[in-house]
Subunit: 336 residues, 4 copies
């Protein structure tokens, strides 16, 4: 059994890791730390955990405990994660960081985006971007994984094949993305009160959202990125617009690279919807070319908590420990 | 034009008063005070108000301003309302209090229920319980109205005809009620975060909810009251169980008292649902007798923010100022 | 009192007309016809109507009855509406057609879009496009109104000021629109079953949606239009992308044309959300310019059943009969 | 690997079986038949199945195919299931029937409840009621399982310990139950259209719902049963009222029987909510005694599609084939 620890376990990605790992046949959760809820039963905050975790309590973070783990998942806010992940790596523990702190190739882009000084620039070069469909080989031996952002996963999996194949004008990309409310995390914020969210819909972070630069760096395109808040709990759908420079048939060929991927499915001209992927670790992608304008419209869907966060983290763990990449990960979405 | 003021206008019942009064042909909002948001535009918190109220700002409460009003609506928390309403009444302003502070006939029952000492017992006797279907005549000349609770309105309108006619065993009453989340008010509380509420359902306040004693006092029955939280914004449905002591045909006769009511509709054996009343000031009631057990099952629905709070308050205002009781009040629910 | 009739009253726009007209002080519903539900009480399908309409039944359509009306609202499917509206106009009745049949200036564009032959081309020239903010003068004396489509209203109100002022490249317009499910009408279709829709989100009609040509004709731009289905009942939000050719300050000037409009509100750089307009006849518009790309991102919101259909129809009626344009129309959205 | 077949696989319980079995390490789906969709890819109806089932098509039912299975799950409507299950059992195939046809001990009660003549009374006696917490031993060797109803599972797991221990007055039981819309199945019915369901809530089947007699038979109590329709996809919460004849402490002792159950958790005075069990095979139960009335209020929650149908069916399969009862079944609910 792989011993895993979770730092910052009381948030939604921490919960989702505990949920997924409870069904993983070759991994177990050794500790789940939480600064704010240390000493409290995890099942008090998440009663769903009672069956699988009994009276397990959130602990204070302890490096000694963490060292006993084979891998630690860090579910801390951006900026707070870099140092603690660094300490763990220094101590020889393999780390999967769900924050943005180790995602960027270009540290200065990270620093300008997050308005922070990176405290462990020494580690950035060895950190591997945890998008298995592109970095599988490097993930295998990585000591430190920067697990991709949710919007980024949905966007890059759709954009990169097109950009890499030179099929699109890279300066025309618009990503109109829509996310469920769990993307905002577990917060006592009036903006996410049920009454203020249910039955409504809005754009937010227009021209300023921090995932923009990560999408740009990882897809190699320039992007207008407009995220919106959907009145659902889970799921992201990104509608992507770009000028097509090649024949529409080339698009299918570019996406053929996903043919043998267990979790990324290209549907051709059929456009995916959120209910097909919510609850699974899958990304579904579909495309339509518009003759009138020469534009390509691509739609990409994931579950933001699974393929967009905790599921992808477990997928990375599976690769790091030489397991079948799909072990313990749901391949069928809830639909209902 | 009736000049109205609203104290504590930044909460949901305050907003709903502003929404309803914007469509009222014979009343206008003169001031809307808010301690926490004084000086801010109301449209910042509720952008929906922009069209009808332009740049109107929440003010600090001022007795001098309030005195210029014909009537003031108090939308303050229980316990905080009694004194300010008292001051207004002392100053000769007519008051409609949406809190529980002036609802009870028996002040000691109020005090034991709310665990408070009532600061203005002198006014309690002259306060009129603002349930128009029962107190129309007294409301007309009232200086101080105790506007009924939302669960209480739904429950009492269904129970009282049965209890008054002696058709039911008053010790067998169970009210299993379900309310939308707006009933909890405008709060930055994790319990009402969208992610924690949407797609779920729970009972709360079991055996301890404060509306229990108000239902008991106003219906003249003993009640087991179990409220539940529905993942919708507006609306209450109460399913009421009691032992029937008379022939089922007597039930229709008892409800015939509502025949000419503009807002209370008895549907016989057809059971109402929330979408029929949400958005209107109506209460719909239906009943089924169960032969096997001799029980009566009554279902009662209202919009908790309208007939359960702000709409009923406007109905009371209409009566107090000699207007047609229905003026400015929606008689058709949203359905959609 | 203006006598109004509704043809095809059993659908959602018919219901919404009955709901709005119940609160209109100077109009009343004389008949509500429905082929499929003739003879049935309207309150059976829409119990919310019981209070205001009592036992009123849907009737078979009768030209004789219709002739007694001052105005008839036609709520029939596209293609079925043209002839019956023609008969009414021939008989001297003023008509507001909520279908697409009389919306287009270019009848051949209608015919290619809807794949129909228009049976009353003779009337198309005299039909007036019922967008009050642009056609107020012609609406006043119109005998036949083509009431705009819901997506079109949201899109054109945002696009036209920009296009008219020459601020944008008209070939770069992308409208990424999101609509509540009521836009699909009242249908026993598995695709709109609660289980298949709630918690999900999808694009549909990509490159083929029929509102595309109406948006193009009325805004004078070429449009990539991608509608999506939101898991909410009411409301449309359109996120509009286009290349800005002028200084961003010009944008505010272009939208100043709405300054005195009762129902269209320009918010500058604040972006509207659906909850602010749902339940009202308002359209809210906001804009952000993106320096990096030179693009303008405009967001426009309406209630698809009100400003996008039945409310706009009532607004047109008010103008046709010389009333204050806002009479009987909600100016404050539900928010909740 | 256990070879399983699914008859009537296109409905929601059939889908849920395919979803659960995709994650089951010791079972696989050999065929999935559907009369109405035979020849079509399952992923056309449920795109979520694409990843795990590829292009698998629904087949016509064939007894020869079914005979190759170790067990067949029947997901057919009540009345249509009895004969086909009978044929399968005759042919030596073990069968888990998700319909009501083999649930009742008293066949005449089944016949009066469902208004049908049972075509295979010969098999009823050997059919085992598939509630593992009570019938584990008989399930082990059963050839034919009558898998319990969803409302019944939630109600009986809460009621039976109380009734068996003689703690309650069995004639005072009221079950006020609330279910998500998936309980109504996959139907093109206007009543379950998103617009007619979202934001609303209603009682249905009052005094007539067919699960009433099954609850009564399995719990040994007389029940007033009132189901309601929640605007959520999954989950049942039953609020149960009964007169307590014993000390409240006895209640905890009665529920101690579930102490070692993997899927049934008694929470004492903490009342469960749907989000804690939705997505898992768990049932959570909590209780409060009300001193004023001597009533006990018990709340029981399950996921109607999992513990209330397909998950319980898999649990039964695990027992029948000597596997650990929990294999392949989710123990942690979604929460989100």
């Amino acid at each position: 059994m792989i011993k895993t620890g979770i730092v910052g376990a009381n948030g939604y990605t921490g919960f989702e890791l505990m949920r997924l790992l409870a069904a993983h046949p070759q991994a177990e959760v050794t500790f789940a730390s939480s600064r704010s809820l240390a000493g409290e039963e995890a099942a008090k905050t998440y009663p769903a955990l009672r069956g699988a975790y009994g009276g397990m309590k959130y602990s204070e973070f302890s490096l000694d405990e963490a060292k006993k783990c084979d891998v630690v998942f860090a579910c801390l806010p951006h900026g707070q994660s870099a140092e603690i992940c660094g300490e763990l790596v220094d101590a020889g523990v393999r780390v999967i960081d769900l924050s943005a702190d180790y995602r960027y190739d270009d540290v200065s882009l990270y620093e300008s985006t997050y308005k922070l000084t990176h405290p462990r620039k020494d580690l950035c070069a060895q950190a591997v971007y945890g998008l298995p469909e592109y970095n599988r080989d490097r993930i295998k031996n990585a000591r430190l994984i920067g697990n991709p952002g949710c919007y980024v996963t949905a966007s890059v999996l759709a954009l990169k094949p097109l950009a890499d194949a030179g099929l699109i004008d890279k300066r025309t990309v618009i990503v109109d993305a829509k996310s469920g409310v769990s993307g905002a995390g577990r917060k006592a914020d009036i903006a996410y009160n049920f009454n203020e969210t249910e039955g409504s819909f809005k754009a937010y972070g227009v021209t300023t959202h921090r995932h923009t630069t990560e999408i740009e760096e990882k897809s190699g395109t320039r992007v207008t990125f407009v995220p919106h808040l959907l009145p659902i709990k889970r799921g992201i759908l990104a509608t992507i617009y770009c000028d097509l420079k090649a024949d529409a048939a080339e698009v299918d060929k570019a996406y053929a690279r996903y043919e043998n991927e267990p979790f990324v499915h290209y549907l051709g001209g059929e456009l995916p919807e959120i209910k097909s992927v919510a609850g699974s670790n899958c990304c579904y992608i579909g495309c339509k070319a518009e003759a009138k304008t020469g534009r390509l419209i691509a739609v990409s869907c994931i579950d933001n908590l699974i393929k967009g966060a905790s599921g992808q983290a477990v997928q990375n763990m599976n690769i790091m420990f030489g397991l079948d990449e799909t072990v313990g990960l749901p391949r069928v979405g809830f639909h209902l």
